[in-house]
Every structure is written in C-alpha cells, then in structure tokens.
C-alpha cells in the first residue's frame, strides 16, 4: 500500500538487470555520486519500512543511514562477487540487499529497546487539542500504529513488506532471510493477529 503523497516503491524504478552490478562497481570505486543515486533510488523505501517497523522517524533515519553506509562499506566485496558481465551480476539486486539490511537493523533495534525498557516500545501520544477532522485522522493513524506496533517484530516486518511495500512473498521472504513456506506461515499469523486486534478494538468501549 502506498499513499499518493509518498514516492513510488523502489520496484517501480528498478534498474534493468545487470545495472546494479555497475552501481556496485562505482560504489566500490568510492564514487559519491553513486551513493547519492542509491539514496535517491532506495532511501524512501527503506525509510518507510524502518518507520513502520519502529514507529519513530528519527530511528528510521538512523536505520536508513546505517544501511546506506553498510552498502558503502561492503561495495568492494559485492562488486567482486558480482563482476559486471558475469551471471552473478544479473542476479544482483541492491534494493533487496538494502531491504534485508534495513529490516534486520530495525528488528535488532526493537529487540534492544525491548530489553532495555522491559516491554514494548512506548508509543508517542499526542495530547494537543486538534480539530475534529485532524482528530479523526489522528485517531485512525494512532489505531493503525497501535495495531502494527503491537505485533511481534518479525510479524510486523512481514506486514510492512507485503502490505505496505507490496512486495511479493518470495521477495519479502528473501528480505527476511527466510524460506517461503516459513514466511507464509509467519504472514498468516501476522494477519490473524491484526484482525483479532482490530476486533478487540471494535469491542472495546
């Protein structure tokens, strides 16, 4: 799911096959323009994923920055493994690689925060008085956030990747380093939990 105000997902502007190997080669050569291009191509997607995972915009920015810097650091190894013109180069998808890194970073941070706080990540409540429309939108936003953030980390990642980023199950499973069957099971549990949580919200006074 992508709102009209948000940029199109990375799949819409995916480079042609083999192009990512050329970008990796430029990154390995420490070309800042290449890194800027990667941020332009994939930064928004990673930010959305990270934000919906953590519920925190600053945390999401840190995750995207860390993912991009890791790409910068690992570019020589990636370029060596996927030399331009080789069969491996055709299989290289830097977008998928970045999604995997960002998802793992988000899960790691959520787990670390849970260990520190001893519970779920606290939600940020906005107590300021707002107009009715804004209140209604805010309530819906808060409800969605509450539903998503109430999910366990991996179920949350499954919903974010498949529902919000509209990734096919296979790509989402790859981004989470899972086999497809395990991912589909996880996704099934996540949807069930969401529906049950929504039903519980509706039953609440």
């Amino acid at each position: 799911m992508n709102t009209a105000t948000e940029p199109a997902p990375a799949t819409a502007i995916a480079p042609p096959p083999g192009d990512d190997a050329a970008w990796a080669e430029r990154l390995a050569a420490r070309d800042p323009a290449a890194l800027r291009e990667m941020i332009a191509r994939h930064g928004a997607t990673l930010h959305r994923v990270a934000y919906r995972m953590t519920g925190d915009a600053h945390e999401a920015e840190d995750i995207v920055q860390e993912a991009m810097l890791r790409l910068w650091d690992h570019a020589p190894a990636i370029a060596a493994k996927h030399a331009v013109g080789s069969q491996a180069a055709a299989r290289l998808r830097l977008g998928g690689w970045l999604k995997r890194v960002a998802t793992n970073l988000a899960i790691d941070r959520l787990r670390r925060a849970r260990r520190i706080s001893g519970g779920e990540v606290p939600e940020e409540e906005d107590d300021a008085p707002l107009a009715d429309a804004v209140i209604e939108a805010g309530e819906r936003d808060n409800l969605a956030r509450a539903l998503v953030l109430a999910l366990p980390e991996r179920q949350r990642a499954a919903i974010v990747l498949t529902y919000y980023e509209e990734l096919p199950n296979a790509e989402a499973a790859e981004a989470m380093d899972m086999n497809i069957k395990a991912f589909e099971s996880l996704l099934h549990r996540a949807r069930t939990a969401l529906r049950q949580a929504l039903t519980a919200q509706g039953d609440a006074p």
Binding site: M1, T3, T5, E6, P7, P32, L35, R36, I39, A40, G43, A44, H47, R48, Y51, R52, A57, A60, E61, V64, Q65, M68, L69, W72, D73, H74, P76, A77, A80, A137, R140, D141, L143, A144, R145, L147, V148, I159, Y163, Y164, L187, H188, R189, R191, T192, L194, R195, Q196, L198
Partner: protein, 305 residues
Amino acid sequence: MSVNEPDPGLPIAPGSPLARVLDGYRAPDLPAGFADRVLAAAEARPAPLPELRRPARTRRWRIGQRIAIGALSFGALATAAAATGLLEQLAIPVPSAETVWASLTGKAQASAAPEPLVAAAAVPAPTPAPVVNEGPIDTPEELAEKLRRVDQVRAGRREERRAIIDQRIKSEIERRGAAGLRVPTPEEEARLRAKIEQAVTAREQRADAAAAARREAMQRKVENGEALTREDLTGRKPVIPETRERLRGLRGLSPEERAKAWRELTPEERRLVTEELRARRAARLSGQPAAAPTAVPPQDTPPSE
C-alpha cells in the same frame, strides 16, 4: 473458528475495514539534506578493512568439511580400537590386512586358507597296510618292495598326525567355548593352523632328507650283495629286552613318577615309548580297540622317522 467464518490469516483485501485502518499509518518523507548527511558520514568513515586472506567458505563446503573430519576421526578411532585389540574383546572379527588384500586381489593367501587341513581332517586316516617282511632283505627288488611299504605307512602316519592336530584344535575350541572363554577368530585359527602346518612340513622335510640318505646307503649295500639288518632299516640300534621291560614298568607309575622316570630314560628308550603311544593313538582314532603293546617289536615294523 467455525466452518463458515473466514480464515483470519487470508490476505487483507483493499477497502476492507482492516485495510482502511492500516492505510492510516502514513510514513513521513525523508528530510531534506538526508543524502548530504549520509555522504558526509561516508566520507568520514574509515576505509573498510581488507578482505580476509581466506575467503569465506560456502555452506556446502563447510558441511562437506565437517563430514570429512568426522569420517576421518571415526576411521582413526576404529583403527586404534582394532590395533589395541578392543574389537576382538567385543567379539567383533577384524580381518588382517593380508586377508583384506587377498580378498581384493583375488589371490588366495597361504596362511588364510585352512581348507587343505580341514579336508585332510575330514578324510579318515587310511589304516596302514600290514608290512610283511620275509627273511633278510638282500636284493634290490626286496628293498624296493620294502621301501614301497614304508612309504605307504609313512603316508598313513602323516595323515594321522594331521587328523590328530585337527581334532585337538577342534576340541580345544569347543572346550573354551563351553567354558565361556574367548575363542579364536577364524583368522586366528587360520594363522595357528598355518603355523602348525609349517612346523609339521619342516619336520617331514627333515625326516625325508634323513631317509633319503639312509636309503642310498641301503641301496649301495644291497647292490654289493649284503643283507640289510634292522639297524640299517630303522637307523637305530635294536632295543634290548631289559629296556623294553623297563619301559613297560613305566605304565604303572603316577604322572610325577613317570615324568621323573622319563627323564632318566635314554633317547632310544624314549623313542620306543613314543612309538608305542603313537600306535595306541592311531588305533583309538580309527575306532579300533587299542592293541596291547607288544613285548617284542615285530620283525616287519616300519622304520620310525
């Protein structure tokens, strides 16, 4: 959940209540200048560490390496257990390297082939044909006939010896098995039989060499027209009657006294006792009642070798 209720794990349909709620979770855009900040951080970042000299191995290679190490470890432990005799204590037969090599190459191994011995043991020992000697031997024909009979008796004796060896080995194995002691493995038994066969063959070769020399002398004597004496035939001096009576007295003694008296006998006397014992044993093996020992050896007794 009843049968009519939809599966709560089904995909979220667009426009459904859940989809309408989830769509409200909007993500903000990246702030302006984010790319510059990342680029600045990348520039300030230290250069990545060089690649490891040893490249990271694939999962398949790691699994193969572990399997190989496990197989080698198992082989080393099994070899050590076999070398220290642990497997034999657990009644697990361990073939020798020669046996394995012989089975691989298809070449029969002399030491691991007890079939000839078994075959010899299975065949009942032929009873030696009675040798009749009429008068002194003073012609080549008589000597040839005498030697033919001697060879016949010797062949029968050799068969008997082998049958006795086989019977002793079998009875010992049965005794150990009945007593719960460890019995030799087929390889050990084959080695033992080969060793005994080697000793028996060496003994027979020595006897053959001595007999050949004695036969040459006898032939020369006969060709010169001289009659052969018993000493010429046996290669030993005749036992005097007193000695024979003394030997007969040994039978009534206790084992300790008999052993003491045995040590006091001369080699000739010992040989005579041995011959008598052999005759009794041969009769026992053939199933016939043991003949009473003769006080005086018959004239046609074959030479002992």
